[in-house]
Homo-oligomer: 332 residues x 2
Amino acid sequence: MARERITTKKLAELCGVSLGTIDRALNNRPGIRESTRERVLAAAAEYGYKPNHIGRSLQSGRTMDIGVVVHDLDNRFFSQLVNAIQQDAWERGYFIQLAVTLRDPQREKAVLEHMIERNVDGILLFPAGKEEELGQYLSSLPLPVVAIGNALFPEGCCSLVGLDDRTLIDQATQAAIQRGYTRLGFVAPYLKTSQHLNNFEAEERLNGFLAAAQKAGVESFVLDDWDYLQQLEQVPWKKAQTALICTSDIFALEVVNQLHQLGLSIPQDVGVMGFDDIDILRYASTALTTVRYPVGEIGRMAVRRLLQEMDDATLTPEKVSLDSRIIWRDSL
Amino acid sequence: MARERITTKKLAELCGVSLGTIDRALNNRPGIRESTRERVLAAAAEYGYKPNHIGRSLQSGRTMDIGVVVHDLDNRFFSQLVNAIQQDAWERGYFIQLAVTLRDPQREKAVLEHMIERNVDGILLFPAGKEEELGQYLSSLPLPVVAIGNALFPEGCCSLVGLDDRTLIDQATQAAIQRGYTRLGFVAPYLKTSQHLNNFEAEERLNGFLAAAQKAGVESFVLDDWDYLQQLEQVPWKKAQTALICTSDIFALEVVNQLHQLGLSIPQDVGVMGFDDIDILRYASTALTTVRYPVGEIGRMAVRRLLQEMDDATLTPEKVSLDSRIIWRDSL
DNA sequence: CTGAAAGCGCTAACAA
DNA sequence: TTGTTAGCGCTTTCAG
C-alpha cells in the first residue's frame, strides 16, 4: 500500500506541458519533438505512471476483456477449458472475467447481466439454460456471444464451437459392436432429472447411441438417472457380452469402481467406454477407452471465433465442429 | 447483436427530465416524487437500460473486481481454489479477473501490471517469484494483495493465507515412523530445478520432514529432481521398510504407478503418503493416505482477508494458517 | 510541434 | 422535488 497513482493530468502539470503532449509521448504518437517525448517518458517512469484502463475504456468503448461463463470449475473439463481460453486470450491481448452458473439458468442470466454491465467486449458461454428465452436474450445483446459445447435453442442465435457428438458416439457404439459386444448400455445420469437444462451434448450422444444400436439390431438400454450405480447391480451381465457407453469419463470411472465392487472384471465381463479423455485417467485403476474431447483446441477455436465476431459485427452465427477420435485402452 | 445500449443521458432526454433525476430514480435515492421514479423506471425497462459499470467505476474509483493470479488451471489444486474464490467473491458482489503466471516471474509481473491498470480493487496471488524485488513491488502497489500458499520474501510485505506446512509434514513423518517405517524418502521433484522460484511450501515441507527424521534418528533421503521416478529403481527396498512422503498427491500418484511397474506392493513393500487430498483420489488405483489441503476454506479465507484490507487500508499484513489433518487410507 | 476543449457514462455537490 | 455543473482519466478533435 503505497504512493498514489499518478494520472496524465498530474503528469502534464509536473512536466509543464499539456494533456495532448502527454498522450503523444506515452502512446507513441507522431507530431512531438523527440526531446519532449523523452522528457515526458522520464517523468512517467520517475513518478511510476501507469495508464488507467478504466478511463481508456470509457473513451474507447472497448475493455479488452472477454467474459467466460461455465458451469463450474470443480469439473476438470471446465478448468482445462478456461485454462486454454485464458492463455489464448492473454496472448491476443485480452483479459478474462470469469463467472460460473452452477448449471442454474437464473444465475446464468444474472452472471451475463453483470458481464454486460462491465462492458466485456464479448462472451464465451457454456450454456446452462435451454429455454427459447435464453436464445432471444443472447441475440438481443449488444455484443457477440459464442457458445461452447452445448447448443442454444433456437439455433442460429449465436455461434457454437463443439464436437459432432452424435456422430462420434455413433461411431464409438459401432466400434463396440464390432468388438463383439451384443448388449449395449448408455450411461447419462442427469438426462432424466435435468430436462429443463441444456443437455444438448448428452442428448446428441444418446441419439447417436440409439441410432447405432438400432442399425445393428442389438439389445440396448439407457441409464439416465442418478441411481445408475445401483441399477448396475440388476443387470444380468452373464446373459450377454455387455458394453457400457458413458457420456463422460467421470461417470465411466464411477462405473468402473462399482463394477469392481460387484466383482466384475473389465473388459472380460463388461466393457466400458468413456468420453472426454480427461488427464487423470493416467492414474485410474483401469485404463479407460474413451473418446477424446479436444478441450484446448475447442477453447482456442472459440476465442478465435469470438474475436472475429467482435471485429466484424456483420458475421452471421456459425457452427464449428472439431474432429475427434477414440482412444483405445484396456476397458473395451 | 442488437439495439444499442442506452445511457442515462439519452434516458433523460426521452423522459424529459435531468440526469440528476434519472440517477435518483435508478439508484433508489431519496428526494424524488414517486410518480417520477416510476415513470423513469418504466422507460428504463422499455428501452432496456443497463448501467455502465465502466462509467460508474471511473467516478467511484472502485471496480468491484478482484484479480486472481495463480500458476495455471491444469493443476487441479488451482482450479478448485479459483472455484472457491469465484463463488465467494460473487456472493459478496465482486467479480473475478483471472490470469495465470505459468510459474514464470516475468509473466507474473506482467499479469500484475495488467491487473493494476485495470484497477482491480484487490489481488489474490499465488506467488511464483521469490526475489526480494517482488515483495517490494507488491508493497509499493496502491491496492491490497493477499498471498495464498506461498509466502513472499521478504516476509511481511503482504498477508498470507495457507497451512503450517512444516508442522504438518513433521507430524505426517512422525506418524509414518510410528507405523514402523525405518527409512524415509521425501519426494519434491521441482525443488532442485526451480530454486529461483517461490517454493516456500515445498521448502517448508522439506524442513518439516528433515526435522522429524532427525528427531527420530531414522535413515532418510530426498528425491528433489525430475528423475525421481527413475531414482526409485535404485532404492534397495528390501533393506528397510521404506515410506515415501510426497509434496503433492500428483507426485504420489506417479510414484504409485512407478512402484507398481517395479512390481512392488503398497503398503506391504513401500508406504506412500501424499499431500492435498485432491478429489480424483477417489478413482485412483491405490487409495492414497494423504494430508488434506482445505482448498475451499483457504480460498474463502483469502477473499475475506482481502476484503478486510480493501475496506481498511491501515490493516497490517497478517499470516493466517488453517488447520489440517492426515486422511488415512491404504497406502501407508 | 503544442495547447485547449470536448466527451465517453456516471455520480455528487450545489442551486433553484 | 428537480436541474445544473463539474469531474473521474483518457483520447480525439481542432486551433494555434
